[in-house]
């Protein structure tokens, strides 16, 4: 980061307000904490991605010949744990949310800056435990920690992995708490609820899930660890326990956790679609209500992960029906984004390309989710590659693509530099193509019946698996490129103006990068969100040379 501070040294900003390692590690500035998160999250993303590549390489051939079965099991377990708890859940909220929410609502900082720093340290403690777990030989429970396998039948590092998830969970809870209080208490004069950017609404809904869902999985994970240590029997059928209780507690959080991952992404896409269409969002109220609706209804559907697990027939019917209710607000979001483009004045900058990709991939991810909500289909395709494909369409096609969209959109604000547009477009294309090639064949594999978490598989599944692995390599290049050109832009990128895209929103009214306390003068808001009719289009977006 020293580079960034030196480079943009001429302009006063949060980056060069203070110097030295201490000024970063003990900072309470939400923008600096966001950068700390950005670095640590990127680190974990590439660790999780490395595991993913090894998984895909192993699956190139039907026989389990690259790694042993136990190693393979560790790979997919740690891929899941790292990606979910250390990338997907914190990524958008802790990096972009942290950086942008105070700016978007016209506040100097989050309500509790030191708790914000504590969140990052908790994340790092959890992350260290995760790294320890990996280095100490890994863990092979699957990220779901299903009992009694995790409690009685494995002798890998389950406890340290559980603790890692537990601590990271509290980091997430505190982030959510900070956002809720900030959005309620720190809005600038005139920033009423009806004027909040949808990005903020999305984070508000996300925070509700983080606060009310995470503790339940935390206690479930604690009980798993205790059960391993003391053999309490709470989830052990040999002692009268019910393994399905663990699944209930686990999915009570872990299904809504999917919405922790995707809702902030939806917030990003709303901002970007409006900006590059020069339009108000189509149906602001519906969009805001939809994210809240998804967050709340998301709590009612968890047992759809358990349709073949041995739950009651009636419970299965109820949870299946409730699951469809989530479909409605999701459909509204997709249609409204599309409708927002209608009669716009659309340009195709990199963030917008990612937003297009998001709309398409999220549509596929959402529609295939409806297959899984349907009991008769779910019985066949649950625990197969169909599920793997579905949730990667939502998590990677949705959330990661949205994250990249957001990183490109706000990179000028964060770093004060423009990234090279051509390379950006190329990376977006690679991500889109690579992603579809990786995961689309998995839908077919799933319906054919290839179970997930299989180290070796029958030969008739090979060709589709080869396609998938080929896609994964393209995807990997698509992910490495932005990493490279973002770093490059820190030194060589064109200096970003305050508002390179001509975007609405308070964050664009301060300098790029913003000063330490965000605004020179306390902003007072007198306009609705996305007032693109009042904002001139940018003359020329500065490009890197």
């Amino acid at each position: 980061m020293a580079t960034a501070a030196v480079v943009s040294g001429e302009r006063e900003s949060y980056l060069n307000a203070k110097y030295g390692l201490k000024s970063w590690l003990l900072t309470v500035d939400h923008k600096r904490i966001a950068l700390l998160y950005l670095i640590s999250i990127t680190f974990f993303f590439f660790i999780g991605g490395f595991f993913a590549l090894l998984i895909r390489l192993e699956l190139l051939t039907p026989a389990g010949d690259l790694v042993q079965a136990d190693v393979y099991n560790k790979l997919f377990t740690m891929h899941g744990l790292v990606m979910i708890f250390f990338f997907l859940i914190p990524a958008v909220p802790a990096v972009l949310g942290n950086f942008l929410i105070p700016l978007m609502i016209g506040a100097k900082d989050l309500a509790f800056p030191r708790i914000n720093l504590l969140s990052w340290y908790l994340y790092m403690v959890g992350g260290t435990l995760m790294i320890y777990t990996i280095l100490a030989g890994g863990v092979d429970t699957g990220w779901t920690f299903y009992t009694p396998l995790s409690t009685e039948f494995l002798n890998t590092n389950v406890i340290s992995a559980a603790l890692a998830a537990f601590v990271a969970g509290f980091s997430s809870i505190l982030t959510g708490l900070n956002f809720i209080v900030t959005i309620h208490r720190m809005r600038a004069p005139g920033m009423t609820w009806n004027r909040l950017p949808l990005f903020v609404w999305a984070h508000y809904a996300t925070s509700i899930i983080q606060i009310l869902g995470t503790p339940v999985v935390a206690i479930a994970i604690v009980l798993v660890a205790l059960e391993r240590l003391l053999h309490l029997g709470i989830f052990n059928p040999a002692l009268g326990g019910d393994p399905l209780l663990f699944q209930h507690l686990f999915w009570f959080y872990s299904h809504p956790a999917v919405y922790i991952m995707i809702l902030p992404g939806m917030g990003i896409v709303s901002e970007i679609v409006c900006c590059f269409s020069r339009k108000r969002i189509f149906g602001y109220k519906a969009m805001a209500l939809a994210v809240l609706g998804i967050a709340v209804i998301g709590f009612l559907v968890w047992a759809h992960h358990m349709f073949v697990a041995g739950i009651s027939l009636y419970a299965a019917l109820v949870f299946s029906l409730l699951t469809y209710f989530v479909g409605v607000p999701s459909a509204i979001k997709v249609f409204n984004w599309t409708a927002t483009m209608y009669k716009g004045s659309i340009t195709y900058q990199t963030p917008m390309l990612y937003a297009f990709a998001f709309i398409g991939l999220f549509t596929i991810g959402g529609l295939t989710g409806l297959f899984l909500a349907s009991l008769g289909i779910d019985v066949h395709v649950t625990d197969t590659y169909f599920v793997v494909a579905h949730f990667h369409y939502v998590m990677v096609g949705g959330m990661v693509v949205a994250y990249l969209a957001g990183m490109h959109f706000w990179w000028p604000k964060i770093s004060g530099r423009m990234y090279p547009e051509g390379w950006g477009k190329l990376a977006a294309l690679l991500v889109f193509v690579g992603f579809n090639l990786t995961f689309f064949p998995q839908f077919v594999l799933g319906y054919m019946g290839m179970p997930r978490r299989y180290h070796a598989y029958p030969p008739e599944f090979q060709i589709l698996n080869v396609l998938s692995t080929a896609g994964a390599t393209i995807l990997a290049v698509g992910y490495l490129l932005p990493m490279v050109y973002f770093l490059w832009s820190l030194r060589y990128g064109a200096i970003a103006p305050a508002n390179p895209w001509g975007a609405a929103g308070l964050e664009w009214q301060t300098t790029s990068p913003p000063p330490e306390f965000n605004f020179e003068n306390q902003p007072v808001v007198t306009w609705e969100a996305y007032n693109y009719d009042e904002i001139p289009e940018p003359e020329e977006v500065p490009v890197a040379h």
Binding site: R187, P189, L212, L300, Y314
Partner: protein, 106 residues
Amino acid sequence: MANHFPNEAEATHDHISSVGSSVAIWLILLVFTGLTVGAAFIDLGPLNTVVALTIATIKATLVVLFFMHVKYTNEKLVPLVIVSAIFFLFLLLGLSMGDYATRVWR
């Protein structure tokens, strides 16, 4: 409103509870504790659990309203937070138990 920070004018902390009312609530809580212990020894059939939980809920409500000053707050948000916590707790308990209660084999 437009030129003020949200909630700037509202102050939630101005209530100072009187010693008398606090002691009164304290006494009621002790009495209810005695009641619940006493009721536990009387056979009311399935009502025993209902009575015990009702008394617990009354006690908890008293603590929330008076000791935690919720009764005196002019802030609508705090009750909303409490209600949503209880609502989601009941979702967890209710929907999980819904599965157990309707299984053919329990």
